[in-house]
């Protein structure tokens, strides 16, 4: 097999072996529909309930507050569109750095007549609780701010923001899809709704959940036979949910150790990259305000898609926020909002590390990036 160093864990992760084994066992042995009332159905129901119970415990919630669904995107859609459905004329506060699932849900709601405020983060990509507070109007009913950003890795002060919301009796949603290694205790965080997905924490793709605090009301967006408390209907993906629960258990059980390991690796990577001339970090300078797995940098006089493709040839897999790589030929909205100029966004590359990333991988990456950047600068007229 050719050498491949996967540094795109913020996009998605591979399936953990233990997760896979649990899923296979469910797929093989639990064929039933959890809604059926015979033994085969009851077995499926028990398996499903156990997965829900496990997730609830990990995030310090009740089982009845966990809604399984098809992923982070669906969960965000529920939190925004499902919550606002019966709140005509009301106001939402969100940010310019949200995942498209939140951002485009807000754009949709805006087109339906809702008022939306999109907050700008600071130059490091961090949203401030004071800004949230300032944006509150009499009509504000929902605040949605992501826990950690998928491009810059910036971690937002979720507790402070939730306190502001609580004080003003406003519902608070956070998309925590990038935050698998952070504290996910919903009580401590003060979230009324929280989005998680499995595909970014070494679980299966196409699986996620919405934490919906008791008393928070949403309108079902998928109608059907009463599953997931009648809110997200459709026969349950039992094996997927079991896999998700296992993945969440594994990543949370080891989160402090793994965070420290990744932090060291990403700091080394950053240090090595900074030795190249004309490199800027996009995102928080203090690594405590940044996800341990994520480093986003801009290379001057280099276009990101070119660099990404050259690195791919050397077996290193990363992503870029360059205009050239986007479907709209526009630079990354998130980087532009996070203090990055158009030109810097053009030369941006995100490295996101994971479980299998080693020190050797990082050394090789630094060395290779140097060579590739040099090569592209050589043929650039700038």
């Amino acid at each position: 097999m050719e050498k491949r160093i996967y540094l795109d864990h913020a996009a998605t992760t591979y399936l953990d072996e233990e997760v896979l084994n649990e899923m296979i066992s469910v797929l093989k042995n639990i064929p039933g529909n959890p809604s059926s009332l015979h033994s085969t159905g009851l077995e499926a129901k028990e398996t499903l309930d156990a997965a829900r119970e496990k997730v609830a415990k990990i995030i310090n919630a009740k089982s009845s507050e966990i809604l399984f669904m098809s992923g982070g995107t669906e969960s965000d859609n529920f939190a925004l569109k499902g919550f606002m459905d019966d709140k005509k004329g009301k106001h939402i506060i969100t940010t310019l750095i949200e995942h498209p699932a939140v951002y485009n849900s807000c754009k949709y709601l805006e087109s339906k007549g809702f008022k939306i405020t999109y907050l700008l983060p600071n130059k490091e990509g961090i949203v401030s609780a004071a800004d949230v507070e300032k944006a509150i109007t009499r009509k504000t009913v929902l605040v949605s701010v992501m826990y950690a950003n998928n491009e810059t890795g910036a971690i937002n002060p979720i507790k402070e923001i939730s306190e502001v919301c609580k004080k003003n009796k406003i519902t608070f949603h956070t998309d925590a899809c990038q935050a698998g290694l952070l504290n996910l205790d919903v009580e401590e965080l003060g979230a009324d709704m929280m989005t998680l997905n499995a595909g970014k924490i070494y679980g299966p793709k196409g699986v996620g959940m919405l934490y919906l605090k008791q008393g928070t009301k949403i309108t079902p967006l998928i109608h059907g036979g009463g599953q997931e408390f009648g809110l997200r209907n459709g026969t349950e993906n039992v094996a997927g949910y079991v896999g998700f629960a296992k993945a969440l258990e594994l990543i949370q059980a080891n989160r402090e150790k793994e965070s420290a390991r990744l932090r060291k690796l990403s700091n080394n990577l950053l240090k090595g990259l900074m030795e190249i001339e004309g490199v800027d970090l996009n995102g928080p300078v203090d690594s405590n305000n940044r996800l341990p797995k994520t480093i986003d940098v801009s290379f001057k006089k280099v276009e990101g898609e070119s660099l990404m493709l050259l690195l791919n040839e050397k077996g290193i897999e990363v992503s870029t926020g360059s205009a050239c790589s986007s479907k709209s030929l526009k630079p990354s909205r998130i980087l532009m909002a996070s203090g990055c100029g158009e030109e810097e966004a053009h030369g941006s590359v995100r490295f996101s590390l994971g479980k299998r990333t080693t020190e050797k991988d990082i050394d090789y990456t630094i060395k290779t990036v140097k060579v590739c950047v040099e090569k592209l600068r050589k043929i650039s007229p700038l």
């Binding site: 006089k301 070119s306 030929l329 050589k378 007229p381």
Partner: protein, 134 residues
């Protein structure tokens, strides 16, 4: 598992091993000796291309370039520099982005403007040459 590349094999070939590009240390020399120089930029995504040509008996005998842009942009200029070598000025002026893109085994729709860019730089270089002749 074998590595995959986002675009055609031809794009890959020209992108990984670009032909006829001008290294920085030769730029001063070519600025002096080239018969025509042209530059083009794409407002769509902020990319820049520069082309230097040498002309003899109304034919392009050499075409050098520098590009700041995506893989398709780099491959387009590289392919173009090979295509125009030996062409008469008339022929080179008639070269279309479509022909460049075909030479590369086709570009995705969204990347077509990258081949337009190289072509624009070439046309400006030819114009520059002709003006110098007046």
């Amino acid at each position: 598992m074998k590595k995959k590349f986002l675009y055609s094999d031809k794009v890959k070939e020209h992108f990984i091993n670009p032909k006829n590009f001008l290294t920085d240390k030769d730029v001063a020399k070519w600025n002096k000796e080239a018969d025509g120089i042209g530059e083009a930029g794409s407002p769509a995504c902020g990319d820049v291309m520069k082309v230097w040509i040498k002309v003899k008996d109304n034919k392009i005998v050499e075409c050098r370039w520098q590009t700041y842009g995506c893989a398709s942009a780099i491959a387009s200029t590289s392919a173009m520099s090979e295509m125009v070598k030996g062409m008469t000025l008339d022929e080179a002026e008639k070269l279309t982005p479509k022909e460049i893109s075909e030479k590369l085994g086709g570009l995705p729709q969204i990347k077509v403007h990258c081949s337009v860019l190289g072509n624009d730089a070439l046309k400006t270089a030819i114009k520059n040459y002709k003006e110098k002749q007046k």
